[in-house]
């Protein structure tokens, strides 16, 4: 089933971490397997927030050797950052296997990403001037607490509560998906894409890489490819309704935009609340009401509807 949510403050930064946590916790019943956040703070030029993991959560419970192994993997990542002259400015260890680095880097992001992911077990969750992508197993309260998201201030964010249907219960298959190797683009999706393999093979032939077998990752790679070719976010969303088959409602966030698209069947829900200073969307109104606790006017976007808002 899955639940998705997004919000954007149009009058400056808000308490995005707390708000997204509340919204996703309200959607827990739509998917308790994993929870993910893509939240956007104040952009910093030439500095990136690098979120990565060197193991899956479930691996950590398999014997003693993995604890030494994750340390070895992390040292390898540090060495590779140094080799590419990426300067580590700040380090946070949310868990034993997932890390947040603030780095100063002026080189090619794809080269950096490929080099780090070449380390066994390493996967970059996100790189961005503003984006921070956090996802792990458990409900929103658990993941938010584990990664200390409660105090995160930012302009906008998207999030996902996952009920695994097409792929495994692991972090790799959890949403949001960062649009590797593009800066600051993330996607969450509710639905099923029926021409996934066809489109994946097409994008792979163009040189794009996929880390999971989750159909939702396609939307991230597809969007990033379109934006890289010069399309606007709105154009890409409109194009996706024509090119992607299946039932879907999905949200895309970039450094300063939040967009949504609903498929031609309108089979997946989305409730929209649009106020002067805040736009909030969710699979169910109850999520919006968790951050706007009074009577509000909301509506369902229709089939093939595309909307984009700027922070």
């Amino acid at each position: 089933m899955c639940g998705i949510a997004g919000l954007i403050h149009r009058d400056g930064a808000g308490e995005i971490g707390r708000e997204m946590t509340d919204m996703l916790q309200a959607l827990k019943h739509r998917g308790p397997d994993s929870t993910g956040f893509a939240i956007y703070g104040v952009p910093t030029q030439d500095q990136f927030v690098l979120r990565f993991k060197v193991a899956e959560q479930e691996e950590m419970a398999k014997g003693f050797k993995i604890h030494d192994e994750v340390k070895r993997r992390r040292v390898s990542v540090d060495e590779r950052l140094k080799t590419l002259e990426a300067r580590v400015l700040e380090v946070e260890e949310a868990t034993e296997y997932a890390f947040r680095y603030r780095i100063a880097y002026g080189g090619d992001l794809k080269k950096l990403s490929d080099y780090i992911e070449d380390v066994e077990g390493a996967e970059i969750l996100s790189i961005g001037n503003a984006l921070e992508l956090i996802k792990d197993l458990g409900d929103a309260g658990t993941v938010s607490g584990q990664y200390a998201l409660g105090g995160f201030a930012g302009t906008h964010g998207i999030g996902h509560t996952r009920m695994a249907t097409e792929s495994d219960v692991d972090i790799r298959s959890a949403h949001p998906y960062w649009a590797y190797p593009y800066n600051d683009i993330a996607v969450v999706h509710n639905g099923q894409i029926t021409n996934y393999w066809l489109m994946r093979r097409q994008l792979e032939r163009e040189g794009q890489r996929f880390v999971s077998n989750c159909d939702s990752e396609l939307l991230a790679v597809y969007t990033a490819t379109n934006l890289d070719k010069g399309a606007s976010l709105e154009d890409s969303l409109k194009q996706s309704i024509q090119e992607i088959d299946g039932v879907f409602t999905y949200l895309v966030a970039t450094k300063d935009e939040l967009g949504m698209a609903k498929d031609t069947m309108a089979a997946k829900p989305m409730v929209l609340y649009e106020a002067e200073n805040l736009v909030a969307l969710a699979s169910e109104e109850v999520a919006i009401r968790s951050i706007v606790p009074h009577e509000i006017d909301t509506w369902d976007p229709y089939d093939e509807e595309v909307r984009v808002w700027r922070a």
């Binding site: 069947m265 169910e284 009401r289 606790p293 369902d300 089939d303």
Partner: protein, 282 residues
């Protein structure tokens, strides 16, 4: 039409008896000669003048629905439900006469499987509202989500705002009135009843409808398979005017501009054959 009253003639002309039921097993649920056939055995004797209010902000759906049941058992016939907070499955399964006033918005599956109450909702409702409603009246002041009135059997279901997609999917009777627009696939596999949309209708309106009537005041994006334009008769105009007036939805310019959509009845299911008979033929 010989042998029938004027009233019956009108209902025939309005297309309410056109479905051919031969060839199918019909089950009699109520014996009209028995008084007990008109009420449920566990329904409550309530007094509409006995009124109370409840605040459900700290109750979940089960607690709220049980509280409503307790109040009906105590004879309350008018209940005001405050702060529903868009929670799901509120006010479901009410098989009783009741005036229920909901101050706020409901989430998914609100007022499902109800038979008899009159409900007024000041806010919005989510997906699958009033699914399988049997009788009564529901008036929603704001918008509604998709699959509004799915499999509706009877009663008046009114949304003064706009509704989502697949409105009245599989509806088998009753009336759906929408003050604003409706989304795609509205009236999909509609079998009986009437749907009135004062605004626009999305694509595939009335797709694969078996019977019933859909009236649209605005633009129709396109019709679904086997949905065809019908003639708007004087009886239709009279009925539309009366019904829309009843809920303050009558457009200032009247109802002459409404389009009527009916089933073309060209699909395979109009051959009246039992599945076993069909196998023999095929």
């Amino acid at each position: 039409m010989a042998g029938v009253s004027d009233h019956e003639t009108s209902s025939h002309e309005m297309g309410m008896h056109t479905e051919q039921l031969s060839g199918r097993d019909q089950q009699v649920f109520f014996d009209l000669s028995e008084e007990g056939g008109f009420t449920y055995t566990d329904s409550f004797d309530v007094d509409f003048n006995k009124r109370t209010e409840i605040d459900v902000s700290n109750m979940d759906a089960k607690q709220t629905n049980l509280r409503l049941r307790e109040l009906m058992a105590e004879g309350y016939g008018t209940i005001v439900l405050n702060n529903p907070g868009a929670k799901h499955s509120i006010a479901v399964g009410i098989l009783n006469r009741l005036n229920l006033i909901i101050e706020g918005s409901l989430g998914y599956f609100g007022c499902g499987l109800i038979d008899g109450p009159n409900v007024r909702i000041s806010g919005r409702v989510g997906w699958s509202f009033a699914e399988n409603m049997m009788a009564g009246t529901i008036v929603i002041e704001k918008n509604a989500g998709s699959t509004f009135g799915a499999a509706l059997r009877g009663g008046d279901l009114v949304c003064k705002g706009s509704v989502g997609s697949r409105t009245g999917i599989d509806m088998k009777g009753g009336t759906i009135l929408v003050g604003g627009d409706t989304g795609a696939f509205s009236g999909f596999m509609m079998q009986r009843g009437r749907m009135v949309v004062c605004g626009n209708a999305g694509k595939n309106l009335g797709d694969s409808m078996y019977d019933g009537n859909i009236f649209v005041g605005g633009e129709i994006r396109d019709l679904g398979v086997d949905a065809v334009p019908g003639e708007l008769t004087d009886l239709d105009r009279a009925w539309l005017t009366r019904k829309l007036k009843m809920y303050d939805l009558l457009p200032a310019k009247g109802v002459d501009h409404f389009k009527k959509i009916v089933a073309g009845k060209q699909l395979w299911n109009y051959d009246n054959l039992e599945p076993t008979e069909k196998k023999l033929i095929l």
